[in-house]
Structures are given as structure tokens and as C-alpha cells.
């Protein structure tokens, strides 16, 4: 029988076009993404923080990194756990154990978004063409994480390292092709 369930990432077809850009844009396909809801002051949040090895970020528009798990602040009682591919079940089990009988919810949303790593000194210049957020290193240091509109599509931008211009951008899978097309167009104006 033919295997018809081969996984194909949302930007698989755009990889050659993205490779030719003057900035480095590379899709990180199939990352583990878990949506986490819990009262930030409740026992579940504290317990999850301990299980991950720190405390969940409570300052709006920030993210924390515990080992290879990024915890992104999405709302006052909502976080996104980002981990390497294939850890969905293990990470969800860890978080569920930490929640125990307390109030909290963890949902696998790995297919909802795809991630694009953007690096290079001109990334800010490119993003500024479609995004009104100030990404200057002073305004957005490493660990900043903003949810905003980029060229009318909802994105989450995580600043990994402000000095070397290292960004991780999360975009809905269904908008990924549109985002890639916009990025290629925005880079065209940069020239050489």
C-alpha cells in the first residue's frame, strides 16, 4: 500500500526561493508547539515552571528559554511552549504531570503555525516594511516576543539575539505561502 501520509511542511515548496534572499530565511518545520493555559498566580503555573526549570514569563511580550524549550508569553494566562520536532507527547506529558489536579490546560497546536528563522543585519529593515513594531535592539532586546500584524497577517516574532539580528517568526500554516511571497517581494527592494 502506498504511504500517503508523508509530512510536508507549509513552506517546503518555498525553500529554494527563500535560500536566494539577501537575508537568511530558513523554515524550521514541524516544531513542537503546545498552547498552555493556567492562572499565572495559581499552583499549576508554579508547578509547570518548576517542571521546566524556571518560572513562566509573566511580563507581557517576553519569552524565556529553559534548555531547549522556549516559553512565549501569549496572554496574561496563556503561553506557547516551543520545542524541537517530535517532542509533542513527551513535553505534554511533563506539563500535564506538573498540572496534576490543579486548573490548567495544555493543547498540541504544532500544526497551527510554522516557524521561520530570520537572521542577518538587514532583517529589521525588511520586517519594518510590513510591521509597525519597533524592533530596534534598545526597544526589543533578546527575549522579546511580540504578537502583531506583519503585512496584515498575524505573526509572532521572537527576538533570539538582538546584536546578531537573530529572529524567529511564527506564522499560521495557511498564511505561510503568503508570508513567503511577501518576504521575497520585500527583499527584492533591498537590491545588492
Amino acid at each position: 500500500m502506498v504511504d500517503t501520509t508523508t509530512r510536508r511542511s507549509p513552506l517546503a515548496g518555498q525553500a529554494p526561493a527563500l535560500a536566494g534572499l539577501p537575508i537568511s530565511a530558513r523554515e524550521l518545520p514541524f516544531l513542537t508547539q503546545l498552547n498552555l493555559r493556567a492562572d499565572p498566580d495559581g499552583p499549576a503555573a508554579a508547578s509547570i515552571g518548576r517542571a521546566l526549570g524556571g518560572t513562566l514569563p509573566v511580563v507581557p511580550s517576553t519569552a524565556s528559554r529553559f534548555g531547549e524549550v522556549d516559553v512565549l508569553w501569549l496572554g496574561p494566562d496563556e503561553w506557547l511552549l516551543l520545542a524541537p520536532s517530535g517532542q509533542e507527547e513527551a513535553l505534554a506529558a511533563t506539563v500535564r504531570r506538573a498540572i496534576g489536579e490543579a486548573d490548567g490546560a495544555v493543547t498540541d497546536v504544532s500544526a497551527q503555525r510554522t516557524a521561520v528563522a530570520l537572521t542577518g543585519p538587514r532583517v529589521r529593515e525588511v520586517l519594518a516594511r510590513g510591521c509597525s513594531i519597533d524592533l530596534h535592539p534598545k526597544a526589543a532586546p533578546a527575549g522579546s516576543c511580540v504578537q502583531t500584524l506583519l503585512a496584515q497577517t498575524g505573526v509572532t516574532i521572537l527576538v533570539r539575539d538582538e546584536t546578531s539580528s537573530d529572529f524567529l517568526l511564527l506564522v499560521r500554516s495557511s498564511f505561510a505561502e503568503y508570508f513567503a511571497a511577501w518576504l521575497i517581494d520585500a527583499c527584492a527592494e533591498l537590491g545588492e
Partner: protein
């Protein structure tokens, strides 16, 4: 475009927000006891002041939380923002 200060995320473009109409419109305690006229008044009748107006906004492209803002309808200045459940602040 308005620059709306989300109580969680800070100032953001108006396009990131969704408008929710007048704030502090309480759901009737006993809807079944209302006459048609009172029910219509609850559903459809809203204030339309020239000046400070408390209204609901949702930061739909950001943290997706509802909050309240006092906007001056004459000059579109946002006088105050506050989280849901908090009383309306006194504004000039």
C-alpha cells in the same frame, strides 16, 4: 490611524484591535421579566455622547484580551485604558 495602548501589550496600531461597543452595559438580572421594550432598550440602545465614552476593545491580533478604553469621541484621544472588571477611571 489610532494608536491604542493595550493594558497588556502597550501601544499598538488600531488595525490590531476589534471594537466591542459601549462598555459597562450590564446583562439584565432577570431577562424573562423584561418587557419587549425594555429588552430592545438593552439590546439596541447605546449612548452617543460627544466627549468621553467608555467602550470595549479586543486586542485580536495581539494578546486577544478584552479591555475597556475611555475615548473622547470629539478628538479621538484615548483618555484611559483599564482591564475588564475594573471600575471606570475618572477622566478629565
Amino acid at each position: 490611524m489610532l494608536l491604542i495602548p493595550c493594558p497588556w501589550c502597550g501601544p499598538r496600531d488600531e488595525t490590531e484591535f476589534h471594537y466591542g461597543g459601549q462598555a459597562h452595559v450590564a446583562y439584565p438580572g432577570n431577562p424573562a421579566a423584561l418587557s419587549d421594550e425594555e429588552w430592545a432598550r438593552y439590546l439596541f440602545f447605546r449612548d452617543n455622547p460627544k466627549g468621553a465614552f467608555a467602550e470595549r476593545w479586543n486586542h485580536s491580533a495581539g494578546c486577544r484580551r478584552w479591555f475597556n478604553a475611555v475615548r473622547d469621541t470629539a478628538d479621538n484621544e484615548i483618555r484611559a485604558v483599564y482591564r475588564t472588571g475594573e471600575p471606570r477611571p475618572v477622566t478629565a
